[in-house]
Amino acid sequence: MTRAELDRRKFLQIAAAAGAVTVFPDVEFSHAATEPQASGVVMHPVSLSVNGTVHQLQIDTRATLLDTLREQLQLFGTKKGCDHGQCGACTVHVNGRRVNSCLTLAVMHDGDQITTIEGLAQGEQLSPMQAAFVEHDGFQCGYCTPGQIMSATALLKEPCGPSDDDIRECMSGNICRCGAYPNILAAVKSVRKS
């Protein structure tokens, strides 16, 4: 992550918080932050292994795996698109299998091994699929890219046929509104070949 991106994110978070205070009465905030019992919020312990690091968390039962990765663990690589399992931007691996992290609760993953886009590279060395997306220009705006790469990486171990149409079908759970599909297909093909 570049310095500029970090600064933009921090700015947006501060701006959003400031904006929210003016919109909602203070009581709304105290519900979530300081009076969990009074508002009926249920906190639950969970141990998540994310990219090889174990995190002991006490979280709201309502928190999705996606929100927990982003808001609790500051792993912003996993993206929230539709938040309803219709776009694939939130794709992560749970115990080696790709899932939509927006449609599963973090409390349901006690002891599970979770891999996010941040867990693919070895230090500065991109994974083969990440490198292929760069090589084949498999993105435009980049928002769907982490989900695309997590899906494409999982696909390598799945029963997926050899044709271009087979790959398109196996990648159909990841929507790209820029329409970078031809280059995404080229990237996936190049890694499957090698």
């Binding site: 639950h44 939509n100 449609l103 349901m108 006690d110």
Partner: protein
């Protein structure tokens, strides 16, 4: 999303005990439930997580059938060698649904329990007898392009969204349900879902506190020669506008036994005895398939925007029957 309590079930009995709590619900894959909880359409006060239960195996039965655990993920079922070879319509139907990610999450039991994609059901701003009994139906006089032309009532015309369930009905599958008293009952897949009638809020025979444990598929002479055709607004990752599951037992190029079940056009997985009657004893050719399609859709009732589904369903039926008839039926016993 409203707050709720959560517990992970240690075993089947623990799950059954915990789900007795007020407004408790089981959560398996979560792909329907958590989606609808975010929309405030489903409002459980307690989630009992059954993901740890050992109901995740596909086993062969002595009669040559299969026993599929309720927690078997859709992807594992679709890619299972026996399912592909001997019950191809089931593999094809499951692979036609959702996306690889969702199929890795969604379970056999959960797929049976999934809720309609009617956009009025999914939006609490609209009247919906299914979501709130007695509130009315926004779809009947609304934009009803995706709605049912078969099995509707004056209370509800929402379609059943499952592909898997359509194939299970075609295969004479049986759903095994464990009751809160510990006993087990078996319900034919064809009888598992209910017509909306005056109670569209009641969608299946499952009562509060009951747990789906297995689905069994009997050995049959029509299962191996079977196919699923799904027509939709885009090539993949979309719910059916019309779909058909066909299974045929052929003898000397004549149809000895037939199963024809429709998806996407009816309020429940829609077996067509009318079409099966036309098919039985007839030659397996285009003329017969056309007559079967006409018979299946004869009683269809279009609404303002979904009349196209009647012709679309006929084409799905003819393609599914032709595909089943042409299949090699390698696993036929």
């Amino acid at each position: 999303m409203l707050p709720f309590d959560y517990a992970k079930a240690k075993n089947e009995n623990d799950a059954m005990d915990r789900v007795r709590a007020p407004k408790a619900a089981f959560v398996a894959g979560g792909t329907t439930l958590i989606d609808l909880m975010k929309l405030n359409v489903m409002l459980p006060a307690m989630l009992v997580d059954i993901n740890g239960l050992p109901l995740d195996k596909i086993e062969s039965l002595p009669d040559g059938g299969l026993r599929i655990g309720a927690m078997v993920r859709n992807s594992d079922m679709a890619h299972h060698a026996e399912v592909i070879k001997r019950f191809p319509v089931l593999s094809q139907a499951v692979l036609a649904g959702a996306s690889p990610q969702l199929r890795n999450m969604a379970t056999t039991g959960g797929n049976l329990m999934q809720r309609t994609r009617c956009y009025y059901f999914r939006d609490t701003a609209y009247a919906c007898n299914k979501r709130q009994p007695g509130s009315g139906c926004a779809a009947i006089d609304g934009f009803n392009r995706i709605h049912a032309v078969l099995g509707g009532s004056d209370q509800c015309i929402a379609t059943h969204p499952s592909d898997m369930a359509v194939a299970l009905v075609a295969l004479d599958a049986v759903v095994h349900i464990k009751g809160s008293g510990g006993g087990e009952r078996k319900v034919a897949a064809a009888d598992f879902h209910l017509l909306p009638g005056k109670t569209p809020n009641k969608e299946t025979v499952v009562e509060p506190g009951e747990l789906i444990t297995y689905v069994t598929i009997p050995n049959s002479k029509f299962a191996a020669r079977s196919a699923y055709v799904k027509l939709r607004d885009r090539a993949s990752y979309e719910f059916a506008l019309a779909s058909a599951a066909a299974a045929l037992e052929l003898q000397d190029n004549k149809i000895h036994t037939a199963r024809l079940v429709l998806g996407g056009v009816a309020t429940k997985p829609w077996r067509s005895p009318e079409a099966e009657h036309v098919l039985t004893g007839a030659a397996a050719d285009e003329k017969t398939f056309h007559a079967a399609a006409e018979a299946a859709m004869k009683s269809a009732t279009p609404h303002k925007y979904n009349g196209f589904k009647i012709e679309l369903a006929k084409r799905a039926i003819m393609r599914a029957l032709a595909s089943a008839a042409q299949s090699k039926a390698e696993g036929q016993s």
